[in-house]
């Protein structure tokens, strides 16, 4: 019952907002009421209308033009995530186990992480061309640091008692890696997974937006170029649906792999 109520209110928020948008952009305020001329609260030229946006989105899916662009963006997102996460895990592990290396690179890691990634986009376009790889590179620079910091923390913050116990049980360095450090780091990586996947997508879309010939970011940029507000909103709608689907998949994977982790819902017997 509680879940149903929650869903009801969640949908209610969307309905109310869309209704306001619809009324504001389709009902004309008659002349002489608030101003000399008749006007819309939300001028359709600037705000489009909900039905136009839905209709455009529907048509894009029905005719199939959007699938190609979605596929490109998805590919870039996945590549950025996989490469960034793999790099983050490896380097994070390495740094956590080698204190000297971590100390030497510490200021450079901080510097690189503080750099706004958008300024790198033109450089990547220059180096890697306008194809998917410049977008993947941008996504990687975002994903890498999130995963890196989490894995680094995860390996460093293994409980000393658990570690001592593992050693007393006779584990070698390699077995410690496999049975203690790796699962611990993995749990920290998963806690950052939602953020990491989100950033992979941001990298892909921003990269496309700044220079490309395909992808959702490209579609939105094209629409903006010709003042096609409906196209822009339609692109954002597709992007939002896309994000929710990806996030649902991530949650499913997380629930599958992190069964051992205590949740607030599970009670102790």
């Amino acid at each position: 019952m509680k879940r149903a109520r929650l869903l009801f209110f969640q949908i209610l928020v969307a309905v109310v907002l869309i209704a306001l948008w619809h009324v504001g952009s389709t009902v004309k305020v008659p002349a002489g009421f608030l101003s000399q001329k008749a006007f819309f609260f939300l001028d359709p030229f600037f705000f489009s209308t909900p039905f136009a946006v839905f209709e455009r989105t529907w048509r894009d899916f029905a005719t199939g033009v959007i699938w190609f662009h979605l596929g490109i963006t998805l590919l870039e997102t996945l590549l950025a995530f996989v490469i960034g996460a793999a790099g983050g895990v490896l380097i994070g592990f390495w740094f956590a186990r080698q204190h000297v290396v971590a100390a030497v690179f510490d200021p450079y890691v901080k510097m690189a992480n503080a750099l706004p990634r958008v300024v790198l986009a033109p450089i990547f376009a220059l180096w890697l061309g306008l194809g998917i790889w410049s977008k993947v590179a941008l996504g990687v620079t975002l994903v890498f640091f999130i995963v890196f910091f989490n894995v680094y923390q995860g390996v460093k913050e293994v409980s000393p008692t658990v570690l001592a116990n593992a050693r007393m049980l006779g584990m070698s360095e390699r077995q410690l890696m496999r049975h203690v450090y790796w699962p611990s780091a993995l749990s920290w990586m998963f806690s950052s997974l939602h953020t990491a996947v989100g950033f992979a997508l941001v990298g892909a879309v921003v990269g496309e937006y700044l220079g490309s010939a395909a992808g959702l970011g490209y579609r939105i940029h094209q629409a903006e170029g010709v003042f096609d507000v409906t196209g822009v909103f339609s692109g954002m709608l597709v992007l939002a649906i896309f994000v929710i689907i990806i996030d649902t998949c991530v949650t499913a994977i997380e629930n599958r792999l992190m069964v051992w982790r205590p949740t607030s819902a599970s009670s102790q017997t």
Partner: protein, 281 residues
């Protein structure tokens, strides 16, 4: 010095001495110039098959003694001998039940118990078979697939006990293992421990701050003074008959006599130690 006058004879090299700590001091280097000395001039021996309980106030260095016996820390002075051989590195013949949560949270109860044999080179199937057997012995057959966070505190301690005992260590080190449990669960766990120990008598070094628990479980109760630089201030033999039942042995008049005797000595020492630290401060 005439060996006959030593209060506790230490026979280094003897086959019967599972653990022999000789004139041991452990100093942790810290910000202070001299560091922090946790225990000093500790002489303690545990015979093979003997159950020794160490009792002392919180922070007196009981855990430090266990860590040194386990080989997790090296003594600053003196020596640790295991079955007559000086200890180098980790003590491979000891099993250690920690005070804090030490189970692997990402492994189920069964996997936690199976990890010992698995690490030692047993096949996964064999390790699981033995782990199932041990879970049955600690009464957790129905909970094999649970993760530690899904178990109660007492159940987690049972898993920990099985995890340590499955490796069949010759020496069992226990650091206030039942500390966080409620009184009833403590008694049940104490009886379980005694049952398992009776089946295959290992040398046990059991640290607790509960004098009653120590007398009920042990063959010998060793009392430590207050830290820093804590020392052993006395040892009493417990001649209560075995097998014992923890809740019944507490009603034994001999138990009460011993408790009174140890407590009077302990109280004097505690007060003395307290005055000393007061005077120094």
């Amino acid at each position: 010095m005439d060996s006959g006058t030593a209060p506790v004879p230490i026979r280094i090299g003897s086959r019967h001495c599972a653990v022999a700590l000789t004139d041991m001091r452990i100093t942790f280097s810290g910000q202070d110039r001299d560091g922090f000395t946790a225990v000093d001039r500790v002489d303690l021996s545990v015979a093979d098959g003997e159950f020794v309980a160490i009792v002392g106030p919180t922070g007196c260095g009981k855990s430090t003694l266990l860590n040194a016996t386990a080989g997790l820390i090296a003594p600053s002075a003196g020596s640790v001998a295991i079955f007559g051989e000086p200890l180098v590195g980790l003590n491979r013949r000891a099993g250690y039940l920690f005070q804090a949560e030490a189970l692997f949270p990402w492994k189920t109860a069964l996997e936690n118990v199976a990890i010992g044999p698995e690490v030692a080179g047993a096949t996964a199937e064999e390790a699981r078979g033995r782990a199932r057997d041990w879970l049955a012995r600690v009464g957790l057959t129905a909970f094999a697939a649970r993760y530690p966070h899904q178990l109660s505190g007492g159940q987690r301690k049972r898993v920990g006990l099985a995890q340590v005992l499955i490796r069949d260590p010759k020496i069992l080190l226990m650091d206030e293992p039942f500390g966080p449990l409620d009184a009833q669960t403590r008694q049940i766990m104490g009886n379980l421990l005694l049952d398992l120990w009776n089946a295959d008598r290992k040398a046990v070094l059991f640290v607790t701050h509960d004098l009653e628990e120590a007398i009920a479980l042990a063959d010998r109760v060793v009392i430590m003074g207050a830290g820093p630089a804590a020392r052993i201030i006395g040892a009493w033999r417990v001649d209560l008959p075995r097998p014992r039942d923890i809740s019944e042995v507490r009603l034994d008049p001999a138990f009460h006599a011993l408790h009174r005797e140890i407590w009077s000595a302990l109280r004097d020492e505690v007060i003395k130690g307290y005055r000393q630290t007061e005077g120094a401060a």
